[in-house]
Symmetry: C2
Subunit: 218 residues, 2 copies
Amino acid sequence: MPEHAPSRLERRKARTRAALIRAAQALIAEGKTAVPILEITQAADVGMGSFYNHFETKEQLYQAAVEDALDTHGALLDELTTGLDDPAQVFAQSFRLTGRLHRRHPELSKVLLHYGLELATSESGLAPRARRDIEAAVRAGRFTVGDTELAMVTIAGAALGLGHLLHHQPERDDAAATDRVTEDLLRMLGLTAAEAHEICSRPLPALDTTATGPGTAA
Amino acid sequence: MPEHAPSRLERRKARTRAALIRAAQALIAEGKTAVPILEITQAADVGMGSFYNHFETKEQLYQAAVEDALDTHGALLDELTTGLDDPAQVFAQSFRLTGRLHRRHPELSKVLLHYGLELATSESGLAPRARRDIEAAVRAGRFTVGDTELAMVTIAGAALGLGHLLHHQPERDDAAATDRVTEDLLRMLGLTAAEAHEICSRPLPALDTTATGPGTAA
């Protein structure tokens, strides 16, 4: 909790930073990162000088924009898995929800795909939560994993590959495809085929009513 | 078999095309694809006009360069899995050898990583061979796979993620890491943990004596 209510100046600075980050996320999602800083500040509707109050370089802004998207996504997963006591189900539900985000929050999906294979070792968003859930499931005797970091390589690769496939095959049922990939990963992590199928058949919380994707937050 | 021996002109054309493709592969591996065509023809030591005898655009050359690298890699895998009669072992041996290529043929590895997630659905190289081996292993009762295309998403994602990790963690044992990821994938494909471990402990043919990576072919 902050020690004092933020001043008007602090609130204005926070709004400027958030506007720059939202503009950068939109550019990343469109694949248009090679634009002048002036174009970013115009899209954010802030002055050119404001940029340098917050970031030293364009790359620093893009890094902050990706981390913000990963944190937004991670917070959404935390919210949507609250109250589950089986870490295997927390992992499965997070992956099933992430797969469904590619079509339902395409901008967030494209920021994740832009981040690419770095995702597996990131300290923000999906990856640290997946590592936490895998390790909890191993301790609970649910998963059998030799090397969490190497399992994460496959899991992040599957998450990215799935997003890529769902964007390129718009006719494919995203929920069915995501649940199939999640089942595959659960078998890899040591569940039986029957357990993996059962856990991926459970009802999910509604994703669309939770509006916390980038660009939707206040 | 060709109906006639190639003429001197045909041989010269083939040499020019091969030189352009090798130059493009080297540029892709260095991540320097945004260069003028003149720089490519100079690196290939061919005239600027020769470029347009073979390719209409730079993108067409890069596409041909990636397909050539994938085909070279695929032919190497075919050579190194000849005589194996268990399709599960063919799949495992191909993946184990591909993982070892990232450090031992870094240029080929970087061309594969540049191709990225398109790899899963490619008609050249690793992907069609992996699909063939998976389907043969399903028919032989060795693998249990619900949707080969979705399994390929995870397998290609794992192959790319592993390459990325091995380039970024030079201290990691590439053989041990590759065999662990292969074991994970075999469990996902329906083998028991014991079978997956046994199949990944078998001796491999020597990779380093086979010099067919890009840039090493005559």
